[in-house]
Amino acid sequence: MLEIVEGSHAVAEAVKLCRPQVVSAYPITPQTHIVEALADMVANCQLDADYITVENELSALSACIGASAAGSRVYSATTSQGLALMFEVCFNAAGMRLPIVMTIANRALGAPLSIWNDQQDSISLRDSGWLQFYAEDNQEATDLHFIAYKVCEDHSVLLPAMVCFDGFILSHVYEPVDMLSQEDVDRYLPPFNPYQRLDAADPISFGMYATPDYYHEFRYEIDNAAKRAKEVIQKAGKEFGTMFGRDYSALVEGYRLDDAETAIVAMGSICGTIKDAIDEMRAEGRKVGLLKIRVFRPFPSEEIAQALSNVKRVAVLDKDISLGAKGAVAIEVRDALYGSVTPVKGYVLGLGGRDVRKKDIKEIVSLVEKGVGDQFFGLRRELL
């Protein structure tokens, strides 16, 4: 049923429909509306979960580790400083192969303190072993939660997943979202069936220590699982499409890309702006298209190389920067295109909530056509 809802409330509703048994989170702007809504659902017996009001984010995710290992479906949400505080726990959750789903309402990292959007927070955890989904709009943000649970609980994957949606730009925006019914979700997402759990009747040890004789292989297995997740995502996304009409089988999605000469590559809500800019440029006869990356981990290298095989140039937009190097998406897209002669230019933009408009996108297209890139875009030179 189509409803006009705030993004955070749509996400909270989706989480509720996934029936997590333990929710553990700590409030931080702009994630607060999600966890407040879930607390409200628990208080009104709409969600049968134990809601642990922890004292910080490190404990939020640690409690999820315990609850997941004991055999419950769990949920958390955070952003920015909160995610940074979870750094150690994130690696640990993936290493223990626990299928935790966590929403990230993407926000910049201090200093300077900023509550506004960019994607530096989750990008900084790209090496942690978590699957990472990035949503363009609130419909996608909502649906990706069902898919995330389905994929990460699959016994051939067993990895945690972050569903990332842009703070404020999506989390606080009201737009129409088609919400599934409980019946629909129950048909799509079976109850949590842990591969192994803490159980006195069948004792196992979780999180042991490994000498150099074993550690290397553990990491290899995690990497393999992340790569296997590709196929599982495709299957789960297709099944979702068959059942509900919205197909998420593709890890990357093209927009007017087939005959494009210039391709823009981007993630998250900026893709909506880019699509509008493309429509206007197309009307002027400029052959521009978009490649949206929906799944950043596992990284869809082959799909990206395939989708960009016929373009003349590529502009990659990053709302993050690996300081001292380049935007993370640009680095990885260039790696995906290694061996091709297509020039790839990166543009770091929109950090800490700086608005990105259609005219900016058009300007970037002009820059990449001139071969100018690998730069911060939209700097206020008068401040430097």
Binding site: Q21, V22, S24, D48, A49, D50, I52, T53, V54, E55, N56, L58, S59, A60, S62, A63, C64, I65, G66, A67, S68, A69, A70, G71, S72, V74, E88, V89, N92, M96, L198, D199, A200, D202, P203, I204, S205, F206, G207, M208, Y209, A210, T211, Y214
Partner: protein, 298 residues
């Protein structure tokens, strides 16, 4: 009733011969029983008991990080509750994990009132990383980060009163115990397990490697700590001390001379002022807890 024949912490682990913490694990598990899920913090016990692919634990066991054991336990307890399961949750953490880095997680978990038993095995320093001081290290002990030297007598700070901090959170049952008194230790663990809510037992667990003594002296040294009043065994129910272990008082020197970590107080020359300061700390314990047994003069 504690089943003393129950062995849930198995042999073959990698602890030093004479390790007080290993003995503590074995005794705690006898008190806890087999329907227990153990959460360990990073530290000696975690490392010596679970070198992959081997484990000494015959109960379900999980280790996540150094500082988060009580948060992990909170999640486990919440999950068990939701599933209608009845296993007990026991945390096993060192003094560093408890007194220092885990404080925030501990405070949150005890405030929330989860039903678990927190065992702090207290070997009075960070042993796993090479004998650095912790908030549990006693006054004047030499460690690798509080070394005795030409202008230092070692650790400058007194031991933090962790049981009081836990009791201030409203924990229904808080106790201290020692590996030198196994029956008492097992009973306290059993009591903690069977008390609803978050309970705390701090177990004195001498470390031969870190304190500097021979592995066959562990129990004798643990006993001396109690007899000198430098460690007090007591029980608190709802914040009030209800039971203490009384002793015939011995001077602190008898305890201090057994361990290399206090050697600088006696060699090259006896540091009377420092020993007197430590004696005053013990005297304060005798007074505060009323633990002295006065023998009748004949």
């Amino acid at each position: 009733m504690v089943d003393k024949t129950l062995e849930l912490f198995d042999c073959g682990h990698r602890a030093c011969g004479g390790c007080g913490a290993a003995l503590a694990a074995r005794l705690v598990m006898k008190g806890a029983g087999k329907d227990t899920i153990v959460v360990s913090a990073t530290g000696c016990m975690e490392v010596f008991s679970t070198p992959y692919p081997e484990t000494a634990w015959k109960v379900p066991w999980i280790h996540s990080l150094f500082e988060n054991a009580s948060a992990v336990a909170s999640g486990i307890e919440a999950s068990l509750k939701k599933q209608g399961r009845t296993e007990k949750v026991v945390i096993m953490a060192g003094d560093g994990a408890t007194f220092d880095i885990g404080m925030i997680c501990i405070s949150g978990a005890f405030e929330r009132g989860h039903d678990f038993t927190y065992i702090c095995y207290d070997n009075e320093a960070y042993m796993n990383t090479g004998i650095q001081r912790s908030g549990a290290t006693p006054y004047d002990a030499s460690t690798t980060t509080s070394p005795a030297g030409s202008c230092s007598f070692g650790n400058k700070l007194p031991k933090k009163d962790m049981p009081q901090i836990i009791a201030a959170h409203g924990a229904p049952y808080v106790a201290t115990a020692s590996i030198a008194y196994p029956a008492d230790l097992m009973q306290k663990v059993e009591k903690a397990i069977n008390t609803k809510g978050p309970c705390y037992v701090q177990v004195h667990a001498p470390c031969c490697t870190g304190w500097g003594f021979e592995g066959d002296q562990t129990i004798a040294i643990a006993k001396l700590a109690i007899e000198t009043g430098l460690w007090v065994n007591y029980e608190m129910v709802d914040g009030k001390v209800v039971k203490v272990k009384k002793v015939v008082k011995k001077p602190v020197g008898e305890y201090l001379t057994t361990q290399k970590r206090f050697r600088h107080l006696f060699k090259p020359k006896r540091q009377d002022a420092e020993i007197a300061t430590i004696q005053a700390m013990a005297d304060k314990n005798f007074e505060k807890y009323g633990i002295e047994i006065r023998l009748k003069k004949e």
